[in-house]
Amino acid sequence: MNFFNSEKYLANKEVIFIIFLILSILITSTLLFFIWGKLKPNANLVELKMRTKSWWAMACIFILATIIHPIISFMAFGLLSFAAMREIASISKNIRDEDRRVIIWCYIAIPIQYFIAYKGWFNLFMIFIPVIMYIWIPFVLVIRGITSEIGRSMSVLPTQLMLTVFSISHLAYLLSLPELEGFHAGGRGLLLFVVFLTEINDVFQFIWGKLLGRHKIIPKISPNKTWEGFIGGVLTTTVIGFFLRFLTPLNEVEAIGVSFLVACAGFIGDIVVSAVKRDIGLKDTGSLIPGHGGLLDRIDSLSISGPVFFYLVYNLYYTA
């Protein structure tokens, strides 16, 4: 490990360009929401403001990881997974009090999964949670010996691990992908591409929905989601993805297809987590009590779009 190899990374023009782009977008949007909030005190900007705040955090971590060492990204994503797993385990009503000690195993799986991602052991990475933990958690539950409603815990705990750890760890694994000839942005570029696209997709679905939204798409789960917002968001994201394709090894056609799928996957993640929260009775808590469903809101779309993007790119370019 050679820390402070910043020269190598700073020489990377694509990444530097996008960092400046992100910083300028962040500064503009923070100012915009601040002025908007001052002009129209009644406008409901909590959601957008929270998003900008988490963008700032992400940008800071990304910049630190770029100029110091990529291991910072692995630790940051690991902490993110841990906090998300803790949150979903805390608010879920499908986990019994007796499952406390089994939840420890879910937490233990997090550093292991990120260590595997850091080492780049792809086959182990793919099976660790979907196969090994899927066997191990029911086994530990059975050993505890409390059988009433054990089936529910057996299905809920591995699913929560998939949603918060397995899926998010794909973002970190992007940084462990091998170098490709003729493609300079590398894993950092791919990571930037998918995170930026997913977040901008959320924002544009929101904006198009506010501007044109008429026809509700799935009113029982998310009353604010409309067909107009969905289609407008997906199209905008696809166009942005096309112009940001220099961050990836994709060609024009692939960039359009991948961006389109990432946008759709982001929408799916959004409504799946919304449904989970609605089931718990936590929908639209916002930030009144910070931390109750707040973090899940931030990672909902990423947890689906991340793996979708990863496997698309992996199968297109990294299977030699």
Binding site: L79, R86, I91, D97, R100, R101, I103, I289, G291
Partner: protein, 214 residues
């Protein structure tokens, strides 16, 4: 010296641990800063409770704020009593009257007369997770003797899952600590004071629950 190590231990290390690993969230923590001297009154589900409240204090308050702990539990051996006093700054009181022993109310009262603040768990013991037991009278007697001291009601949720009574394994869960506004007792009757405090904590619990639901 005491202030220094308690500050390092709680204001920095313990707070970082609680926030990063346990996932604790403080709500309206500013309530602690409004008065120089106060009595924090909270529900009690876990050994973590007093650590969580100590970590909410600022470095100027920490050396002068004492959790009140059960002498018959934490003072079982002189060693344990010593470490409890050193590391949590606690006052150990006997929970039941012992012949020739010190009067617990007088011990707390003299600490207040010296200018200290107290952290009290009027339930007396940790009890079952997310359930509140009936309050003991001691807090009422104490506030009757010192009507000039405000009390700060605190409602904590989730601690009983992180480290419940009788468990040694600690498991991180999101927890939150909700501080109410500091207030003075309205009456001079011990029973009324106790029920007023109890009511203020139940109110906090209900308010936060309503916020959770909407």
């Amino acid at each position: 010296m005491k202030r220094l190590y308690l500050t390092i231990l709680y204001v920095y290390l313990m707070r970082l641990f609680l926030k990063l690993i346990v996932g604790i969230r403080y709500h309206n923590k500013e309530a602690l800063k409004k008065n120089k001297q106060f009595i924090v009154v909270s529900n009690h589900n876990s050994h973590l409770d007093s650590l969580a409240l100590l970590s909410a204090l600022s470095s100027s308050q920490i050396a002068n704020t004492h959790p009140v702990a059960a002498g018959d539990y934490f003072g079982q051996s002189p060693m344990r009593a010593y470490f409890t006093r050193i590391f949590t700054n606690a006052i150990l009181i006997p929970r039941s009257a012992i012949k020739g022993g010190q009067n617990p109310i007088r011990m707390m009262s003299s600490a207040i007369s010296k200018g200290s603040s107290l952290i009290l768990f009027p339930e007396g013991s940790r009890g079952e997770p997310e359930k509140m037991q009936e309050f003991k009278k001691g807090v009422g007697l104490l506030l009757k003797m010192h009507p000039e001291i405000p009390f700060i009601p605190v409602f904590m949720k989730g601690m009983g899952r992180v480290l419940p009574k009788g468990e040694r394994m600690f498991v991180p869960f999101d927890t939150y600590v909700c501080f109410g506004e500091p207030r003075h007792c309205k009456t001079n009757n011990v029973d009324d004071i106790v029920s007023e405090i109890e009511q203020s904590i139940i109110e906090l619990a209900e308010n936060s629950f309503v916020k959770l639901q909407n």
